[in-house]
Amino acid sequence: MKTTHHWLREYCPHSLSPREVAERLTMAGLAVEEMRPVGDDWLFTIEVTSNRPDLLGTIGIARELSALTGTPLQLPSITLGEGDRRASNMVKVTVEDTALCPRYTARLISNVQVTPSPPWLAARLTVLGFRPVNNVVDVTNYVLLESGQPLHAFDYDRLAGGEIVVRRARPGESITTIDGRLRQLTPEMLVIADARRPVAVAGVMGGRETEVGAETRSVLLESAEFKGASVRRTSRALGVATDASYRFERGVNPVGVEWASRRAAALIAELAGGEVAGGLVDVWAAPPAPRRVRLRFSRLQRVLGVEIPPDEVRRILCGLEFAIEGESGGELLVAVPAFRADVSREIDLIEEVARIHGYERIPETTGITVAVGSVAKVERVCETIVRQMCAFGFHETVSHSFTTEALANLVSPWADQPPMRIRNPIRQDEALLRRSIMPDLLAHKAFNADRGEVCAELFELGAVYLPRPGEKLPREQRCLAILEEDGLLNLKGVVEALLATLSVLSSCRFEPLSDPFFRAGAAAWVNLGGERLGVLGEVAPAVAVRFGFRSAPCLAEINVDLLVAHADLNIRVRPLPIFPAVLRDLAVVVREDTTWAQVEECVRAAAGEHLSDLRFFDLYRGPQVPPGCKSLAFRLSFRAADRTLTNEEIDRAIAAVVAALQRQLQASLRGPETGVPSRDGDKA
């Protein structure tokens, strides 16, 4: 909404400077977005919120200034000389759809001389961003900017039958609007028609055939109330928004319809000559019943947290043209003016009082009682994950939840249902909701590789969207995706360390996974009590090639919701051991297809009660190992809680382990016959 300093002072002759006006209006909720000098005047651009259509005319803004400054509002006086001929004898108005058009008024002005507007009018419209057309059209625009009520002037002689019908458009009807465009109408749209055809799209735009031009002799001036929702739908359907539709969408004041009509008729008569026919053709069921709202002082204080003196409350409300009709027992009975359709409840009045009184005068005090909130487990787990991944050297990314067909179909570890599709995407090729974060990480790696970053170790914690048959909303599963460049065992190590941090690792088993996204034989899924906690693997060569990678990165994705359910964040300290551990290293030669898990299981079962730790430390294939075999080296730790173990006990345990490995896995010892206690650390 645009207006000027001088124009505001015509209605509210306050003594504030333009800068003070901008400040006061902004702090009352009329944000002045811009103010700039225009000649000897100042132009204000004001952001008007959608609940305040009354501020879409300069008078409305002047009224706010009046309430803020105490300067009385002065409305222009209207002197309308009406002729003897009755308008109602010259034009017939029929409103077929009173729901969409509660009030329609028409006025007739005959024998006008359509000419360019006088300089003062043309100049003011120009400053406000309107192109001057002629004295009649310019008056309708001027009164719109003054009062907020849109008006339309028809060339009366071009209206077939001298008749106005407010109705829905008929199937197949069309109209050429004043912007010269032919527009197809539908029966959802309200139109103004004459006896034959639509002559205007109600509340949106007039028709070219009946517009006022140099030839016009008689003008039919329309001032009406069209319902906002209907105007909004029509405006959107036609793809045209106008100053009129903008105001109708927000709601015009049905009572103000008559004032605007009278004001415009008087100005037209003044500027274009002509004779105003007697009376107003007014199709209006009834004025709306005046709204009365009570305001309790106690409630005002309870919402705002400050006591505002009753005199100040009364002054504010009266300044905004609310009428106080009664007062008793600490409450006011307030009559709401017709132009304030946004006010219907006590809270609306509280807001009026608060914003004119000034939010800055409400103190910053609190009666909030101190209470320690709890931190949910999911938050603790997620924060642990983020900090731990960062400590492991990974960089966190944030990706769009939207993805392309190509990325969406690369991998879907959690669901077979096709991804959800956005009906109105910004980019047609990015219309799917992701079911996995892993493709996003590949895309980020590719993006960075193009910028010369050869190594991008990335992770992301976010939702994936898994459609559920028969449900409107998808399952939104929190996932952690990790991209690691140093091989699958390094990635597995990261996953294990994270799971160990959350005390979940010991319940997990890594089992082979077959998925074309991963290289065959280089992928696993994490089995947590039969549920899939995650997947990990080396990206398949075909996938790596599509992203232009020379070597295939490894990716993992973990179901964080499941992780949260099983995570244990509590720490219980075990007593430290009193007696020393005895360490023995063994290296065994086994067949290629024997897994470490098998060896581990066998060793644990055979080593006896004093085995306190078992660690793999080397995998070897080479000259000393027969073909088709491999050597696995590991360290056993033995410890008893109540004494130092003897060499004989350890030897017996080792012998049992060796025997079990031989019997169950056909393993043979390699290297020193019995493990010598070794002092060097784990060999990589």
């Binding site: 902004t26 702090m27 944000a31 959608s50 906002g228 739908r233 927000r250 309870r302 919402v303 705002l304 947290g305 400050v306 809270i347 609306d348 509280i350 807001e351 608060a354 914003r355 939010y359 800055e360 409400i362 103190p363 910053e364 005090t365 009666g367 909030i368 209470a371 909130g373 931190v375 949910a376 938050e379 924060e383 983020v386 900090r387 960062c390 400590a391 492991f392 960089h395 966190e396 990314t397 944030v398 990706s399 769009h400 939840s401 939207f402 959800m420 956005i422 009906r423 109105n424 995407p425 910004i426 909701l433 993006f447 960075n448 910028r451 914690l461 969207y465 409107k472 909303l473 939104e476």
Partner: protein
Amino acid sequence: MVESRLQELRTAALAAIEQARTAEALEAVRIRYLGRRGLLREVTAALGTLPPEERRRLGALANSLKESLTAALEAARQRLAVPEPTRTETLDITLPGHRPPCGSIHPITRVMMEITDIFRRLGFETAFGPEVELEYYNFEALNIPVDHPSRDSFDTFYVGDEVLLRSHTSPVQIRVMEQRRPPVQVIVPGKCYRPDTVDARHMFMFHQVEGLMVGEHVTFADLKYVLHQFARAIFDPGVRMRFRPSFFPFTEPSAEVDISCFVCQGGGCSLCANSGWLEILGSGMVNPRVFEYVGYDPERYTGFAFGMGVERVAMLKYGISDIRLFTQNDLGFLRQFRATI
């Protein structure tokens, strides 16, 4: 005779080696047993008088003893080895050290953690809600009717009939109030979506943190207190704050909240468009109509709500001028967000 003498020597020498506590003492043991005039030499010198067969056999025994003692001495020497003399070469301390890899936490996460942490200290708990949301929660229950201009600021992605990507975190207010009775004191961090044309200030996916407090005595003064506490903590202890009346369908009275520009301290600069103020969030008292939707008695309860854009806060805090950087995931950008708290 010789054999038993060799056996005696072995036992005595091993014991002496065992007992030596210094390198000097060990050397003395070596000289005593293995020296040119040592005890072993004494025994072997006598071998020449024996028959050849006997001499060969005992000679081998003596050799074996000599080897064992030599090995034992070597082992003992290592045991007693004094540390190597202090190294004298100079390390070029200007050479780069070997650094462990350092990761980073995304600026959006960082800011969300920081915001969450501040509100935790003020007694708020965190709540979450779905990003794919029902129209009812995104609009109707928040007093945003169909075909109303107040929807203009909430252009929305749809994925189905009455199913959309939430355009703000406010629907979680409704979900929380449907599940809990007052008092309620929560914040809601999360992703939101609006089909905005992408430029330096607009992105179709962004993050918000929503706040909601409901109780029997929650006032606008409490709202001002809480938000000013927050602004001081996240921006600057000296930050000033300004509440401007505004309109949101789900709060009344509503306020836009500005902070004093920390670049120009209110004097006017390009960051604040010469206004001296930076808009950071929207807020207000919960509209009684919203309470009616969730079955709270609006006479008994009052509350406040607020919502802020996380990108906006991050851009102000870190001096980021283009919102697109957040989802571009350029390592050069990400690395700058060190893991500080």
